[in-house]
Symmetry: D2
Subunit: 358 residues, 4 copies
C-alpha cells in the first residue's frame, strides 16, 4: 500500500484553513493528521470540516508537534510566529512548509535558514506560491530555453482589491509594510527569473497613502513604487497597491534582449465576457486565492512528493532571506527618502561612502 | 498643377453626408463640386458645411448631372433609386461609386452591370466598404500568401446595436430584409475570400423576431442565421442581428486547412480599458461608421485614383450582383422554410428537381 | 469517521484513466476501489498508478461489478458499450456516471433512461463535462438572473486540433459522426441554456471533408455547420471541426434580448503572452482535457456528493437522449441534404408532410 | 469661399514629410504653400510628391519664412534647431507648431515660451501628439468626469522596436537621452492627467545598456526606469526602451482612488488575429507612426482650427518646458546615481540641503 505523508497544519486562519483542505482532499499522497489553532472559532471550523476525516485538533502548537507520527508541518500562523514555529518543527525533525515571509526581519529569517542547515535530511520550504503557478512556470520555461534572449528588465506588481473596512490599517502593524508584504512575491519572482545568485546593487522606493491615510501611523502606504538594480546590468521595478477597484491584480513582465514574456497582463476570473449596454466586461478575481488556488494545490503536492521521495525542493530557502532583505531595504528607502546601495558582494554601502560620493 | 477628380454626391442622408465630407477634406486628389438632395434639411446641412468650399447644391439629380465638369458621381440615396441614378450617370459618361446594394432585386442589379459593360472607359463600383478596411485587407493578404492553407469555411456576422426606436421596422419595408441589408457585407466578403468565381450550391436560412415583432409585417426578422454551400467543398455561414446591447459588431473568420484568420473577434472602440468596481470594461462602436470610417476614406481615395489614373477597380461590379443573388436567396429560404439549390453553373434547381429528389 | 463513496471505473482509455485519477486523488469523499479494462496495456498502467493505493484491477466488467462494496460505477469505455454497461450497473444497484453520449442511437440511449426510471434510488448521470465548467456555470448564472434578457440565439462550436495521423478517420466508424461526437456538447449546452423542455422544430446541417477525405467512407466530415430551430422562437447554430491549427477551441455565445454572454471567445492555455519578433502570441490547449480538466474534477466531486447525500443530480438524464436525438438529426440532415422537421410536441414530420408542403 | 490657413513645413525628414502630407491632403481648412529642407534628397521627394499641388520648395528656412502669405510654420527639423526656428517664425508673426521637444535644454525651451509670450496673438504649440490620440482623450475624459476617483499613480512607457542597425547610437548624440527623447511623452501625459500645475518633488532614474553598449559614449541607455514624485501625494513611474522585439509599445495607466484607466495595455496593429500551429498571434505597429498616425492628423486639423478661428490651443506651451525639466532631471539622476529633489515651488534643492539631510 502507498505510504502517505503525515501532515500537520499550524494556524487555521484564512490561508491555514485552505492549506488544511488542500492536504486533506487534493493531495493524494498526503494525509492531514493534525491541525492546531488557539482561536475557538478556528477549532470549531476544524470540528465541522476536518474531524470526521480523522484529523486531530489541537489548540497548542507544542502539543501538536508532540503528536506521534507527524512527518511534516505547514505553518500558516501570523508572520510573527513563523520563524519560531519553523525552528521548533525543524528541531523536532519535521519537514516544514512555512508561509511567506519567514519573518519581516532579515536576521530572524536567517535563523530559520541556519536551523535548516543543521538538518539537511529535512525539507524546509518557504511557500512562495507563484513559483507553483502554471503561468509563471510557463514563463520561466520560455525564458530558460532562450526564447526572449537574456532577461534584463523585470516589471512586477502585486495589487490588492480596495478594502474599505480598514483591514489593511490594522494589518500594517505586523505586515512589515507594503514592500515586504505585497512585493515580496515580486522580489521572489525576480530572484527566480534573474537567478538566485543575483546581487542587489541599489534599492529605491517611494509611496503614498491615497485611500488609507491611517497607514501613516505604521509608516506604511497603500501605493508604493520601487526600483531594484542588480549588479551585472539588470533592473527590476515594482508596484504594490491596496486600492484596486476591480479586484486583485498581480502581473509580471520579463523583458529580454530578444523578447518579452508577460504573465497576467489581462487579468480575468474565468473565460466569460459579457456584452451589455455599457460595453464588454469581464471580471477579475477578488483576491490572491482566486488567482492562485491551483498554485497552492500544486505546492502541497510537490512539497509532499519532495518529502516522500527525498527529492530536492524547487527553490532554495536562502532565496527567502534575500527576498526579505530587499523588501526591507525598499521599505527603509521609502521611509528615509534615501537610495540604499550595496557593493558587489551585496554588503550595504554605508553613510560614509554616500557622503564621499557627494 | 495637379488634376483633381471633379466629384458630385447624390443623397445627403447619413452616409451621403459622410461621403461628401470625405471627398471634400480627406481625398487630396478629388474636389467636391456638387451635391444634390431633395430634402430641405439636407440642403441646409450642405449650405452650412459645404457651400463655403465652393460646392454647388442641387435638389434634383438630373440638374446636378447636367452641371458642367462633373467626372464622377457618388450615389448614396435610398436603395430603391441606386440603380436608376447609376444608369443615368453612366449614360452621361460619369464614373460611378454606388452605395451597396445596387438593388434588392437581382435583375435590377444586373441592369447596372449591363449599362456599365457598354462603357468600359468608366469606373463603376459598388461600395462594399469592408474591402477597404485595413484589417480585412490584412486578413486577405495572409490568406492570399498561403498562411492558412486552403480556405474552406467562412463565418461572418453583421450585427447592429439594438435601436428601440422602431427605426428598423420602417426601414425593413425597403431594405430587402436582414439577409440582403446586413449580411450582404458578409456575402461580399465571402465572394472576396473564396474568390469571385465561387458558385453557390445551396442556401438555407432561418430567423426570428426577438425584439421587434412588428418586423413580421415586412416578412423580416431581427435575428437571422444562414448557411451557403459553394461547389468545390466550401461553406459560409452568417449571422445578422439588430439587437446587440453593446454596439455594432461585425466579425469574420476565414478558416483554412492550416490556420484561421479572425477579423474583429474582440470588438473595441479604441485602445482604452477601464478597471472599475464591476470589473474590466471596454466599449465598442455604436454603429458601422464607428467601425469603418477609415475604410470609407480609403474607398474615396482609391476610387479617385482609379478614375484619374485609369487603374482597374479593386473589385468586380458583377460580384455585387452575385451578392444580391445570394442575399435574396437567403431571404427567400427564410420566408419559405425551404432549402434553395443551384446546379454547378449556379442556375436555380427548381421545384421539379426538388420533388424528384424526394 | 467520514463515509467515502466506493467507486469503480470501467474503461481505462484516455478519459477513463483520467476519471480513475480524479476519483483516486482529487475527490476527497470518494475511494477508487476497482477498475477494469480488457486491454493489457491499460491493466499495466493501472498496476503502476493505482494498485499501490489498494485499487483492485479487473479485466472483465461483470467480475468487477460483482466485487463487494462497490457503490458507483463510472463508465468510460468505447461509446458502443456505454448503454449495456450502464444498464447492467443499474441492474446491480449501482450509481452510474456514464461518459457522453449514452449511445449514438436514440433508442439505445432511451433504454438507459428507462432502466434508470425503475431505480429512482440510484443516481444515473451522463457526463456532459461542460456543465461543471466554472465559466459555463458563470455564464448560466448571469443568464439565469436576467442579465441578458431573454436568451434567443445560441452559437456554439466544438473544434478539435488537426490530427494528421488519421486518428479521426478510424474513430469516425463508431463515433456517430461529427455532429453526434463533437456538437453533442453544444447541443447539451443549448438544452441547458434554453431549458431542458425546449422542443426542436427543425434541423439542418451541411459539411465538408477539407483535410480528411477518407472520412467519406463513414459518411462523416471534418467540418460541419448546423442550425437547430426550437419552437417558441429560438435558434441555435453549431460548428464542429477537426482541423484547428492552433489547438482545441470550444466556444459558446448566448445572445439575449438585452445582452450576450460569451464563453471562451479568446481561447488561451494560461495567462502568458509572449512578445517576439513576429508579434504577440499566446497558446491554446491542445485538447479538451487541457480546457476542461477542472470541470471533470468538479464532476467527480459533485457526482460523489449527490450519491452520498442523496441530492438531486444537476442535470436530467432525459436531456442526454434529447441531445442524441438532435445530434442524429443533424447527421441525417447532412447525409440526406434535407431539412428535418418536428411538430410542436417534437415528433418527426415525415416525408408525406414534406411533400404536401411542396 | 472658405479661407484656408497658409502653412509651411520646415524639415522633410521622416516626420516632416508626414506633416507635409497631412496638411496637404488631410486638413481641409489648410493649404500647404511651402516646404524647406537643405537635404537634396528631401527636396527631390518634395518635387515628386508636393510640387504638382503648387507647394513651393525651399532649401533655406529664412527664404521660406520670407515667402509672402505664409501664416503658420510647422517645425520638424532636428531637435537642435527647433527653438531657433520657432523663435524666428514667431518674430516673423507666424503661428508655430513645433515638434517635441522644444529643446533638450530647459533654458532654451524657456526662450521659446518667452518669445511666444510677447506675441499673444500667435498660436505656438509643441506637438505632443498623444494629446490628440482618440484613446488618450477617451481616458482623459473618463478621469475628468470622475470615473476613477482622484488620480494618484501614473505608469507610462514608451518603448521602441529594437533597431539592430545602430541608428539609436548615433541618434543618442543629439536626442538628449532616452528619458528626454522617449519618456518626454510620458512626462507630458503625466502633466496632462495630473494637471499642468503639478509640482515635481523628486526625480530618480536608473538605466542599462542591454543591447547597445555603444550608447555609453553618449551617457545614454537602451532601457531606463524612472520615478517622479509630485507634491500633493502623486507618483508617476516610467519605462523607456529601445529593444522591444515585437514593435513599438507605448502604454499608460492612470490609477485613481476608485478605478483605473489603461491605454494600449494590449497593443495591436489592427483587428486581426491569426490562429496557426504555434498558437494565436497578433502583430503590433513597428513604430510610433503606426500607432499615432491619426493623432498627427487630428493635431494638424486642430492646430489649423485654432489659428483660423482664434481658439485657445488644447495645451499650454509652458507644459512643454516642464516636461523637458523633468526629462533632464531623470537623465541627470541616472547619470549621477543621485535622487534629485525639488521644494514645494519646484525649485531644485541643492547639494547643501542634500548634505544637511545626511
Amino acid at each position: 500500500m502507498v505510504r502517505k505523508l503525515q501532515v500537520a497544519v499550524s494556524g487555521l486562519g484564512r490561508m491555514g484553513a485552505r492549506h488544511a483542505l488542500h492536504f486533506l482532499g487534493k493531495t493524494p499522497r498526503a494525509e492531514l493528521v493534525a491541525v492546531c489553532d488557539p482561536d475557538p472559532r478556528c477549532q470549531e471550523w476544524a470540528q465541522r470540516n476536518l474531524a470526521h476525516y480523522g484529523t486531530k485538533i489541537f489548540n497548542d502548537f507544542d502539543e501538536m508537534l508532540a503528536h506521534p507520527g507527524i512527518e511534516a508541518v505547514v505553518i500558516a500562523t501570523v508572520t510573527t510566529t513563523h520563524a519560531e514555529q519553523a525552528i521548533k518543527a525543524i528541531g523536532a525533525g519535521k519537514h516544514v512548509l512555512c508561509e511567506k515571509p519567514l519573518s519581516t526581519s532579515v536576521e530572524v529569517s536567517q535563523s530559520v535558514v541556519d536551523a535548516a542547515k543543521k538538518r539537511p535530511d529535512l525539507k524546509v520550504m518557504c511557500g512562495f506560491s507563484r513559483r507553483f503557478d502554471a503561468s509563471y512556470r510557463d514563463a520561466w520555461a520560455r525564458m530558460d530555453r532562450g526564447d526572449i534572449g537574456r532577461p534584463a528588465i523585470i516589471r512586477s506588481q502585486t495589487c490588492d482589491k480596495l478594502d474599505p473596512s480598514g483591514f489593511f490599517v490594522d494589518y500594517a502593524q505586523f505586515s512589515g509594510g507594503i514592500f515586504v508584504d505585497c512585493n515580496i512575491h515580486d522580489i521572489d519572482l525576480t530572484l527566480w527569473f534573474f537567478g538566485a545568485d543575483s546581487i542587489v546593487k541599489s534599492v529605491y522606493a517611494v509611496g503614498i497613502t491615497a485611500v488609507q491615510p491611517a497607514l501613516k501611523k505604521w509608516a506604511d502606504v497603500d501605493n508604493g513604487v520601487g526600483i531594484v538594480e542588480f549588479w551585472g546590468g539588470k533592473i527590476a521595478y515594482f508596484y504594490g497597491s491596496r486600492m484596486m477597484a476591480a479586484g486583485q491584480h498581480d502581473m509580471t513582465e520579463i523583458i529580454g534582449t530578444e523578447g518579452k514574456v508577460v504573465v497576467n497582463g489581462a487579468p480575468q476570473t474565468n473565460l466569460v465576457e459579457v456584452h451589455e449596454a455599457s460595453g464588454v466586461r469581464r471580471e477579475i478575481p477578488p483576491n490572491y486565492y482566486g488567482r492562485f488556488e491551483q498554485a497552492f494545490v500544486n505546492e502541497a503536492n510537490e512539497f509532499t512528493e519532495c518529502c516522500l521521495d527525498d527529492k530536492p525542493l524547487p527553490m532554495k530557502l536562502s532565496a527567502a532571506v534575500q527576498a526579505v532583505k530587499i523588501g526591507c531595504a525598499l521599505q527603509e528607502s521609502f521611509r528615509s527618502g534615501l537610495k540604499i546601495e550595496f557593493d558587489e558582494i551585496g554588503s550595504r554601502v554605508g553613510g560614509e561612502q554616500l557622503l564621499a560620493k557627494l
